[in-house]
């Protein structure tokens, strides 16, 4: 069920109505029924996967917590009798038990993810290697359908399990409540990847109908639909035309592809997240923000702090930190310091940890080499700029005023945006070779006349479409600029009622009249659904 389908609109409206009608203590139960219905409609065959994750993670978390409680009770009880060594021995033994449960549960869930999402990629590469060495690689593909949102709910569940293992959150004792945390339908298909500690505070609590909360939520949903249907799905037509035929659309077209796709990705993903967060907000549930005006970033490092925040923070907290401070990494640090000297040796483990994280981030996006290369390109750029940091500092010390000028800031924003556009090309083609060909064709382009000879009108978009797109993009930028000072919804809420009414209905009418649907259009999947 697409967010952009009539079915979903009916589903969401009926749910909202019921949500505020049923007794408050039943609200979270209703959400669980709604979430499972949503998942069932998406594909009943996917159900065993989400149930398996829910049950294994729920039970493992309980076992881990029970063991931790037992440990502290035992230590407390035998405080006087046990020596320091005995206490340490006992604690280590219990810790090993918890670690075993934790690792087993991780293996089961990452195993499920690996089989359904990555097995065919592995088979294809293995066949390729066998072929390359003169053999015949004929391993059969598994060809399993990837369950909806599996990357998102698996990561969310693993995050919860890790938090319980670390003792930073209490294990949920009600399996139905936990099932809702895993399957909460607005976030199921494209995140944000919620944290149990924060989400559980509002997910299970009763919510009374509040005009402001519901109004704010629906306002955000409307804004999300605007971005998705008026901008993303409109520009998608031109993007699809160009990326389908890389032999025809290259050279100066590469510039267009990068720019158009970057706009599409932003409008599509942030639009989807606006619908998700807005819908949850309308039900009084607070979800974490996933974007903070990412295209205003002045460096790639800053961009990754502002784009897909929930995924980035997940990788940082549950992969980057544990890998970086792990015992093997400490050994590598000692070894690299001996080998490369104090200064470089200390940095070496940082490179390894970040490389692991970017490899994982790449492959998380899809079982394909283009995503892996995309991840590694991000890593290289980030590491190079990290190493140039002292040079930047010296430069700014020498020219202290320059860094504060608007022109320099604009230059930094433009440079980062161009970099992101170029990296996004990997996502367009899903092929490293095509990405490379199209990207480098830009530097020997001879077809710059496409911008004036009417070729832009042969990409499936009319002059009206371009005008709508231009106006839509200007509106998006304006809203982002206004958001830097305060919430745009707060600004609107202070206006007289007729103005507010005009804004809501205006936006609604724009979506209705200018949304990309009807003949020739097909409301598309959200890009991040497939991850």
């Amino acid at each position: 069920m697409l967010f952009t389908s009539y079915g979903f609109l009916f589903f969401a409206a009926a749910l909202l109505l019921l949500y505020y009608t049923v007794p408050k203590k039943l609200q979270w139960g209703l959400l669980l029924i709604a979430s499972y219905t949503f998942y069932f409609i998406a594909g009943p065959e996917f159900f065993p996967y989400i149930i398996a994750t829910t049950v294994t993670v729920f039970l493992s978390a309980l076992l881990i917590e029970r063991n931790a409680v037992k440990q502290s009770e035992y230590i407390k009880e035998h405080k006087e009798e046990l020596t320091k060594e005995q206490k340490k021995e006992y604690k280590d033994k219990q810790k090993r038990k918890r670690l075993t449960v934790f690792v087993l549960c991780l293996l089961v869930n990452l195993g499920i993810l690996a089989v359904v999402k990555y097995a065919d990629f592995f088979v294809s590469n293995l066949n390729g290697v066998v072929d390359a060495f003169g053999g015949t690689g004929n391993l059969t593909f598994i060809s399993l359908a990837v369950p909806l949102g599996i990357s998102f709910y698996t990561f969310q569940s693993i995050g919860y399990l890790t938090d319980v293992y670390r003792g930073t959150v209490k294990a949920e004792r009600n399996i139905f409540k936990f099932a809702l945390f895993v399957s909460f339908f607005p976030q199921l298909i494209q995140g944000p990847i919620g944290r149990y500690g924060a989400l559980s505070e509002t997910l299970y609590s009763p919510h009374r109908f509040d005009t402001k909360t519901v109004g704010y939520g629906l306002e955000r949903v409307l804004w999300g639909y605007f971005k998705k249907m008026v901008i993303a799905d409109r520009i998608l037509v031109a993007v699809s035309t160009m990326i389908k035929a890389p032999a025809e659309y290259n050279g100066a077209y590469s510039l267009l592809i990068m720019l158009f796709y970057t706009i599409q990705l932003y409008a599509d993903f942030t639009g989807g997240i606006d619908i998700t967060i807005g819908l949850a907000e309308a039900m009084g549930i607070k979800m974490s923000e996933n974007f903070i005006r990412p295209y205003f970033s002045k460096s790639l490092k800053e961009y990754w702090r502002r784009w897909h925040i929930s995924m980035c923070s997940w990788f940082r907290e549950y992969l980057f930190y544990p890998v970086s401070v792990s015992k093997p990494m400490q050994k590598i640090t000692k070894f690299s310091k001996k080998l490369l000297g104090e200064k470089v040796g200390k940095r070496f483990p940082l490179y390894i940890s970040t490389a692991i994280v970017w490899f994982a981030t790449g492959i998380w996006h899809g079982a394909s080499w283009n995503f892996i290369v995309w991840g590694m390109c991000n890593w290289i750029i980030l590491m190079v700029s990290e190493e140039f940091e002292p040079l930047y500092k010296k430069f700014h010390e020498k020219f202290p005023r320059m860094g504060k000028t608007f022109a320099y800031k604009l230059f930094c924003v433009g440079r980062t945006f161009a970099l992101v556009c170029a990296l996004n090309l990997f996502d367009c083609y899903r092929s490293v070779a095509d990405t490379g060909r199209v990207f480098f064709s830009l530097f020997c382009a001879k077809n710059w006349n496409i911008f004036v000879n009417g070729a832009l009108l042969e990409l499936g978009l009319t002059v009206t479409d371009y005008v709508i797109l231009a106006c839509g993009i200007v509106l998006m930028i304006t809203v982002s600029l206004l958001q830097r000072k305060e919430s745009v919804r707060d600004m609107i809420s202070r206006r007289p009622y007729p103005v507010r009414f005009a804004v809501w209905y205006g936006l609604f009418l724009i979506i209705l009249l200018m949304g990309a649907y009807g003949i020739g259009y097909d409301a598309s999947q959200f890009i991040y659904n497939q991850f």
Binding site: T168, E317, Y321, S324, V325, K346, P349
Partner: protein, 76 residues
């Protein structure tokens, strides 16, 4: 505390670590800074900082970080 301040100042000479209370929340220290910092602290104080300890509350100020080091020293 002086040793810790020296490590922090070497990392970011432009930050007033003695008074800054929101090193993480304000984005002054990023994840790579934190790992560089942990490497230095482990060398200097011979303590093991685990992933569980990497939370804003422990890294938001020099005092909080110093408290963490003292706690870990006591535990070890």
């Amino acid at each position: 505390m002086e040793k810790l301040l020296a490590i922090l100042n070497e990392l970011h000479s432009d930050v007033d670590f003695e008074n800054e209370q929101n090193l993480i929340d304000d984005g002054i220290l990023d994840s790579m800074d934190i790992i560089s910092l942990i490497t230095e602290i482990s060398d200097e104080y011979d303590v093991t900082i685990t992933a569980k300890d990497i939370i804003p509350a422990n890294f938001n100020s020099a005092e909080a970080l110093y408290e963490l080091i003292k706690r870990l020293e006591d535990e070890e």
